[in-house]
């Protein structure tokens, strides 16, 4: 495999799965030209006049869609770890004797461990999409035939839109749909919130199948997926386990150390002047992030400050802020609990967004860069503020990118991380895998102190005199090494074998993931 050094100094393959690649050139440096990808033109003459696109079952739909060996099939992760459809889909594909599918999920979850069987028997050739848990472990051990390609949510839209990934058949799990194919995720027995991750596929794929366990008479309204883009509708018994799709209630962490980090971030928002009338922020559903939102809310109430918008993943904590009038809007990317789903369904100011509006880098702007501050996580951060979210320090690929890379474009990016986990340092000299360049990462908040990127002189100045424990990142790095018993050894990797590549938001390759030596 021929490797080239990219602008971040990382070696990346020139060709991936037979396709020539562009190495990462720097933030905002690569600007492609040309036209977006266009799906084939269709005629109403070929679709039922009564609008009833329901076919017998998934097998029938796949057959009608012309399923062949080597095709690209896409699925989406809005059902999270409760997803039963994707496993059923590949059981069906296997039973049809089809081989060498490129699976293009928006993300995978531990429930998809079942699909390792199909990677083994050749039904699936390789995965292009975030690999969580068991699938990542499988790939890390060098067992997958092709190379994994990891993209951010925005990068996935970009790849589809730019024609980098051509989807033959998109299979969209729809908690509620009508026979015409209009679909929504905000209601039904397996309600998950929104279907934004499937939107690009519905627009650009050659064939679109909507699978639902809650078929309602036309019109399913308001729709999130337009039936005019849909070829076939399939009824299934159940899309999955509602308890694992959304949690009843998301829980704030109980760990005192993580709560301390959350408190520091909330205070940072206030001390750095980020928390002011009309501001905006993004916080995910991780334990620290939820707690941060709770602490920030207290400070906003105390100071009488109101936000213009909050970017979800929404949870009941953000919903409460919306209902208390602490923010005008929630611009939601995914919904993590039942309260979030309810609010999205009932509250016109709880807006459903997509990777197009929020994250796509090859568009005329996106929402992520409008956010005043984003609070994110990481598996590793290095002393140059570069960060990793996909591999662990032992080299294993265990997480997807999600919207993480895209959210880095917010005005201030804050990573909330413990400085070490058990005996695993999180602040390191050099990240195992580069996923986000340090120039976009402004603040690291750990239980042992807060490090501000020296590039952000404005933040350093604004927080002068703050009671927060602000210290150089090298200082925290040294302390963590001394607690853990010296600098950790580097993972044992087979540098001759790349098992996956990490795409930057513009489709270039920012880093490679290597096989782990057992």
């Amino acid at each position: 495999m021929k490797m080239i050094k990219n602008a971040a100094g990382r070696l990346v393959p020139e060709v991936v799965n037979g396709k020539k690649q562009i190495p990462y050139k720097g933030v905002g440096k690569y600007k492609p030209s040309g036209k977006k990808h266009g799906p084939p033109i269709r005629s109403c003459a070929d679709y039922p006049e009564d609008g009833n696109k329901v076919v017998k079952n998934l097998r029938e739909a796949l057959k009608k869609a012309g399923l062949k060996n080597g095709m690209t099939i896409s699925t989406h992760h809005h059902l999270r770890n409760g997803d039963a459809l994707t496993n059923l889909l590949f059981d069906t594909i296997k039973s049809m004797g089809i081989k060498n599918i490129r699976w293009f999920p928006s993300a995978s979850f531990p429930v998809h461990e079942h699909l390792i069987n199909y990677l083994e028997d050749g039904t699936i050739h390789h995965i292009e999409g975030s690999m969580n848990g068991p699938l990542g472990r499988y790939a890390s051990e060098g067992k997958m035939k092709g190379l994994g390609v990891l993209r951010s949510h925005g990068g996935r839209w970009q790849a589809i839109q730019d024609g980098e990934v051509h989807i033959d058949i998109a299979v969209i799990a729809a908690p509620t749909a009508d026979p015409f194919g209009n679909a929504t995720g905000d209601r039904g027995p397996t309600a998950c919130g929104l279907l934004g991750f499937a939107l690009a596929d519905s627009i650009y794929a050659d064939n679109v199948i909507v699978a639902t366990d809650n078929l309602v008479p036309f019109p399913c309204t308001p729709w999130q997926i337009q039936g005019n883009n849909v070829d076939y509708v399939v009824e299934v018994d159940s899309l999955g386990d509602p308890g694992k799709i959304v949690s009843g209630t998301t829980q704030v962490t109980k760990s005192p150390d993580r709560l301390l980090i959350a408190e520091y971030i909330a205070q940072f928002f206030e001390d750095a002047g980020i928390m002011k009338d009309g501001f905006s922020f993004q916080a995910g559903a991780g334990g620290i992030n939820l707690a941060f939102a709770v602490y920030l809310r207290e400070r906003m109430k105390e100071k009488g400050v109101k936000a213009r918008f909050i970017r979800g993943g929404s949870t009941k904590y953000l919903v409460e802020m919306l209902e208390e009038g602490l923010t005008d809007y929630i611009l939601d990317g995914q919904t993590f609990d039942l309260e979030g789903v309810r609010s999205m369904r009932e509250n016109p100011n709880h807006i459903n967004t997509s990777p197009f509006t929020s994250y796509n880098y090859h568009g005329k702007g996106n929402f992520a860069s409008l956010v005043d501050a984003a609070v994110l996580g990481a598996t590793e951060v290095d002393i140059n503020f570069n960060a990793n979210v996909v591999t662990h320090s032992d080299g294993y690929l265990l997480h997807g990118i999600g919207g993480w890379q895209n959210a880095l474009f917010g005005k201030t990016t804050i990573l909330a991380i413990p400085s070490f986990r058990d005996r695993i340092p999180v602040i390191v000299d050099e990240v195992t895998t580069l996923v986000g360049p340090g120039e976009l990462i402004d603040v690291i908040v750990t239980e042992r102190g807060i490090a501000i990127n020296p590039r952000r002189k404005d933040l350093i100045k604004a927080t002068k005199g703050s009671t927060l424990p602000i210290r150089p990142i090298e200082d925290i790095y040294e302390e963590v090494n001394s607690i853990c018993g010296g600098k950790p050894a580097k993972p044992k990797l087979n540098k001759k074998k790349v098992i996956a590549v990490i795409k930057w938001v513009d489709g270039t390759i920012i880093d490679s993931v290597y096989q782990v030596r057992k």
Partner: protein
């Protein structure tokens, strides 16, 4: 037949984060065999093996099988666990394998420093140690007593010793609660040489208990050439102890505080703890009076519902109104609430400022008597006012 000796140490099971389990089998021949399963193999596998080998050399173990399940134990913990396994195979062994002393832990304490919050940490649960000081308690207590099961007392002694040496306390006062006497006297050699600041003496019933600890500490200090002061905080937990409160409080010049433990006390007088606390009013007032009479700090019991922060706040305000100056914490989240509740009120601060100003004014004028208006002010009143102002600064 080859004779083998076998022992184990530590805790088994993934839930024991930051701990490890070690089985040691000593043989007559065959050299050293290490079987390590570690969560941090790729990062620290090499350094763990090296540590085990170094320790075998130190203890002159040449032939042994060492089986380790490691869940991310820090070096001080690994050392304590392996030393314990070795000690359990050779109980006659008196040699200590000491980790390097963390130079951040060399600071001293003062008899009259604030002791508003003291955070209890079970002495045999290593995952709680590294971050405790980050929550800024006035003191951290490594507990060898009630939170450690009888069969693991030896494990906790080594772990607490290594923790005193290696883990940064971030400026918190370094406290250890020893076991009830006479067992507690055996604990002292594991803590006295390692810059312990305050020794908590549980279930104290007479001045004699304090004197025994004082004497043993004196001997150990001399043996290991310890120069810094070590203070005592007797904890009274029985009816008899309450009756002897003043005798206990004044038993040693190194007593810095007198605390009460209500769980055992209420059991001893045959009643239950209630939220109103009528049943312990007498005992708590005795503690306050005895401590004040002896010139040391009266310290209240712990508040055990970690989810009830409002209840905690009320309980601290009530303790403060009785005259207590500190409260025990069993969870880091309680610390901030305790500090806030002990913080002086606006009125208290204003009054204290007036008194201190008047005192300074009088001093400047060379007056022997301080007064505000027509009211004379005694030296203890000035001292209390100064303390109030110090506390204000502490809460900033």
């Amino acid at each position: 037949m080859v004779k083998t000796i076998k022992a184990n140490a530590g805790k088994q099971g993934k839930s024991n984060r930051s701990d490890c389990y070690i089985e040691l089998t000593i043989h007559k021949s065959g050299g050293l065999k290490i079987d390590l399963k570690s969560k941090v193999e790729s990062m620290y596998g090499g350094s763990i093996r090296k540590l085990l080998k170094d320790m075998c050399r130190f203890y002159k173990i040449k032939n042994a099988e060492i089986y380790v399940e490691d869940y991310g134990a820090l070096p001080g913990t690994l050392m304590a666990r392996f030393e314990l396994a070795i000690e359990r195979t050779k109980p006659e062994l008196q040699k200590e394998y000491l980790p390097e002393f963390n130079k951040n832990n060399l600071y001293k304490t003062k008899k009259n420093r604030f002791r508003r919050s003291r955070l209890y940490l079970p002495g045999n649960t290593p995952k709680l140690f590294p971050n405790a000081g980050l929550h800024k308690p006035d003191g951290i207590i490594l507990d060898l007593e009630d939170s450690v099961s009888p069969s693991e007392k030896d494990a906790a002694q080594l772990l607490v010793r290594n923790t005193l040496r290696t883990i940064d306390f971030y400026g918190a006062e370094r406290m250890v609660r020893i076991n009830q006497l006479p067992k507690g006297l055996d604990d002292l050699k594991f803590i006295v040489p390692h810059n312990v600041h305050v020794i908590l003496i549980p279930k104290c019933e007479s001045a004699d208990d304090v004197l025994k600890v004082e004497e043993k500490v004196r001997v150990l200090k001399k043996e290991s050439n310890v120069k810094n002061e070590i203070y005592f905080m007797p904890i009274i937990e029985s009816a008899k102890g309450i009756i002897n409160a003043y005798e206990i409080a004044s038993a040693s010049k190194n007593n810095c505080a007198l605390a009460i433990g209500l769980e055992d006390y209420t059991a001893d007088i045959g009643t239950q703890r209630t939220n109103e606390g009528k049943e312990s009013f007498f005992a708590r007032s005795m503690i306050v009076n005895a401590a004040k009479a002896a010139g040391i700090q009266p310290i209240d019991t712990v508040f055990s519902d970690v989810n009830d922060m409002e209840g905690l706040r009320e309980s601290v305000l009530e303790a403060k109104s009785l005259g207590f100056e500190g409260k025990g914490c069993i969870h880091p989240r309680q610390i901030k609430v305790v500090h806030e509740a002990f913080a002086p009120t606006k009125e208290e601060i204003e009054k204290a400022r007036k008194i201190v100003d008047a005192f300074n004014e009088a001093k400047k004028k060379g007056l022997g008597v301080v007064s505000i208006g027509s009211k004379m002010i005694d030296a203890p009143v000035v001292k209390r006012a100064e303390n109030v102002l110090k506390l204000v600064n502490k809460n900033l």
